[in-house]
């Protein structure tokens, strides 16, 4: 074996460099193995990281996939504005499919009009996959988010109904990813599986990435409802008898308005957010998701039905 002395002086990659290199490798495997992938881009912080990673993976070339957003119609306008601006800025194609279209087609049926539409995204996503013939969807889900996600492979196989079978996952060895699927089946690829919320914030700071403004502390009218902070918006008005107060808050995650709550915070810079994240006592979903608390296995159930 040949090697020079100075090369062995190299120690190890920093944890962010390692995570970045792993994610780039995964993105390139999707591009190399799949014929028609798409990258899920919502304008949220995880997908903003994905976008930067895709730039690192494929520039100076174009992305070998379009961006896809499944819009519930219940998103914060700041996030939608950011999504469109960002896609235009990097010059990649953005496909938007909306849950409201599925409702009009009759494939999504709401039990009551103001119910959270988060879980209905699965239907619209599967419709978009079929419409475009996507054989892989790249998503920004992380294993640290939730206990069912902690179990999922980096290349996760879904059958023709979009279902995940957690008891029968493909073995995934070394960095030899198997993204093969037959027509109609689908691979969900998760390049940032091994990132934590803190890693994401640190990466955003290191790379100087722009974020929708609502991630930073701002004043917003809210009501307290069953111990949760619920933002007051057109879609989520205060109920009779509830007192509206103005609070300094920020969002840790920006999903569907009806099921994403902000946290009280005066962190108006990435530095302050990182400091808060490192010392927080509540998980990202615990603090902010009103839909996972429904039952112990809510996420696993949604994933089995095709959810991300």
């Amino acid at each position: 074996m040949f090697f020079s002395q100075q090369q062995t002086a190299y120690q190890h990659l920093s944890h962010l460099d390692w995570l970045e290199a792993e994610a780039i490798h995964i993105l390139r495997e999707v591009a190399g193995q799949c014929s028609n992938p798409a990258l899920l881009f919502s304008g949220g912080k995880d997908s903003i990281c994905l976008l930067r990673l895709a730039e690192k993976a494929f520039r100076p070339g174009r992305f070998p996939f379009p961006l896809l957003h499944i819009d519930t119609g219940h998103n914060y306008p700041e996030v939608i504005e950011f999504r469109d601006r960002k896609a235009a800025e990097i010059g990649e194609r953005l496909i938007v499919r909306s849950v409201e279209d599925s409702m009009q087609r009759g494939t999504v049926v709401l039990k009551h009009t103001d119910e959270p539409r988060n879980k209905h995204q699965s239907v619209t996503l599967l419709e978009a996959i079929e419409e475009h013939g996507f054989d892989a969807c790249i998503g920004g889900a992380r294993r640290d988010e939730e206990k069912a996600r902690a179990k999922e492979r980096i290349m996760s196989f879904r059958d023709e109904f979009g279902q995940w079978d957690p008891k029968n996952q493909r073995p995934e060895l070394w960095n030899l990813y198997n993204a093969r699927s037959h027509k109609g089946e689908n691979i969900r690829a998760f390049p940032i599986s091994n990132w934590t919320e803190l890693d994401v914030w640190q990466y955003i700071e290191r790379e100087g990435l722009e974020l929708p403004s609502i991630y930073f502390a701002h004043t917003r009218p809210i009501v307290y409802r069953q111990g949760a902070i619920v933002p007051v918006t057109d879609i989520t008005p205060a109920k009779a008898g509830e007192e509206i107060v103005d609070l300094q808050v920020r969002f840790r995650t920006v999903g569907d308005i009806t099921c994403t709550a902000p946290v009280i915070s005066d962190a108006d810079s990435l530095e302050k957010i990182i400091a808060e994240t490192a010392t927080t006592t509540i998980t990202e979903r615990g603090a902010t998701r009103l839909d996972d608390q429904a039952s112990e296995a809510a996420m696993e159930q949604r994933k089995k039905e095709g959810y991300f």
Partner: protein, 422 residues
């Protein structure tokens, strides 16, 4: 302001061993005592534990995240958990102990740098302990740590601990395991996990957490020859931009060794040589690149290169072969069938393959070599595959990246085997 986490890189580890030896509980304990469990998660598992009539919090609920796992109190598939101490980021994989789920244990082992092999102090070294030790050794996990757990159930007996150490060492020696560390602990009560506790004073070594914080994550592959399997070719073909007009970037991850601008390289299988003109990452120029970095290489000469080709340093060539002698771990319910054609994926290259011969199967208990003509799920065997196209390989013991392959069943697209080249 300084960052809350100093950067000492990342350590990947797994817990393995026999059923109910306390793997999931140990991870729960590690997370709990290192204060990596947040209040709402703790609240949720406390509620679940109470609902099931338990007095204490069942820490295994922290990793057993699937409904089926919680119902049965067992681990079915690997769970990944993350925590940082003052100095390091850790990725822990919690592997299932049941033999039925061995393939999931192998999944977790293949990326680990350290294995914690749990042994129930009452039961001692069992078949599954041996199987997991064998697999951990086979996939080349550099650091093996035997944790003798449930010491509280054997009165924290030093004799019992030492007895198990001797049993284990006898087996390890047969396997050729050269280095192994032992630690007594109680995952349930926390003795010797993060805190020393006051029951194991006869043990002078480091706590589990101290061991994890000081285990080197040094990548031995830096010393190996440069191997760069091409994942993707970047050809922007942008006529309006003169720089991009002729741009051909070869994208991939350095599997081993390192490369610098100006070095001579050979492209395989064509055998054509050139010089590295530039190394880039996301449009930025780098002077060199080393193991595990994802980069783009630009060469001085126009050579036809596509996904599946490999760039190496001139004079440091891997073996080109149409026959693989390897140790295979069979992972599928349907047996390895001599009559069928499989797909082998090695680095970024796929080829059709047929089983030519099974030299022997290893009995993981006795380490005896047995003659068989079929391989069933969880069997480990020395085999030979014939390949339709040549692969560019190194021995697994020398180079994980170019010594490993997976077997895919093209009819289901399932990953059915894992191979390590001899």
């Amino acid at each position: 302001m300084t960052h809350p986490i100093e950067d000492h890189g990342l350590l990947r580890l797994l817990t393995c061993g026999s059923v109910d030896d306390g793997k999931s509980t140990l991870i729960g304990r590690l997370l709990f005592d290192s204060k990596s469990i947040l209040a709402d998660t703790l609240h949720a598992i406390t509620k679940t534990s109470q609902r099931r009539g338990m007095q204490d919090v069942d820490l295994s609920l922290l990793t057993d995240g699937l409904q089926a796992e919680r119902e049965q109190g067992i681990t079915i598939d690997v769970a990944y958990r993350y925590f940082t101490t003052g100095t390091r980021k850790f990725i822990i994989a919690d592997a299932p102990g049941h033999e039925q789920y061995t393939r999931n244990m192998v999944t977790a082992a293949s990326t680990a740098n350290l294995a914690i092999i749990l042994v129930d102090a009452r039961k001692g070294v069992l078949t599954q302990t041996r199987r997991h030790s064998y697999l951990a050794h086979l996939v080349g996990i550099p650091h093996l740590l035997v944790a003798v757990n449930k010491m509280d159930l054997v009165d924290f007996s030093q004799n019992r601990f030492e007895e198990i150490n001797r049993d284990y060492l006898a087996f390890a020696e047969q396997l050729g395991i050269r280095e192994v560390q032992f630690i007594p602990l109680s995952a349930l009560n926390g003795d010797m996990v993060v805190e020393r506790g006051d029951k194991l004073n006869w043990y002078q070594g480091q706590t589990l957490m101290e061991i994890l914080e000081t285990t080197p994550s040094a990548q031995r592959r830096h010393a190996a020859p440069f191997r760069f399997p091409v994942q993707y070719v970047c050809r922007p073909q942008d006529a309006s931009n003169p720089r991009l007009h002729d741009y051909r970037g070869f994208m991939g991850r350095v599997e081993s060794g390192s490369i610098a601008v100006g070095e001579r390289v050979t492209v395989l299988p064509s055998g054509l040589s050139s010089t590295v003109k530039a190394i880039e990452l996301g449009g930025e120029a780098l002077a060199d690149a080393a193991t595990e970095q994802s980069v783009t290489l630009l060469l001085a000469d126009e050579i036809d290169i596509s996904r599946g080709d490999m760039i190496v340093k001139t004079g440091e060539l891997p073996t080109q072969t149409k026959q693989l002698d390897a140790t295979v771990c069979w992972l599928a319910e349907s047996p390895l069938d001599q009559a069928r054609t499989y797909l082998i994926r090695h680095t970024t290259r796929d080829t059709k393959a047929k089983l030519a011969d099974i030299a022997y199967r290893v009995d993981v208990n006795s380490l005896e070599k047995q003659t068989v003509n079929q391989l069933a799920m969880n069997d480990i065997a020395k085999v030979t595959f014939k390949l339709a196209q040549p692969l560019l390989v190194d021995a697994y013991a020398q180079n994980r990246g170019t010594g490993a392959f997976i077997v895919i069943d093209a009819s289901t697209n399932n990953t059915v085997g894992a191979g390590m080249i001899s």
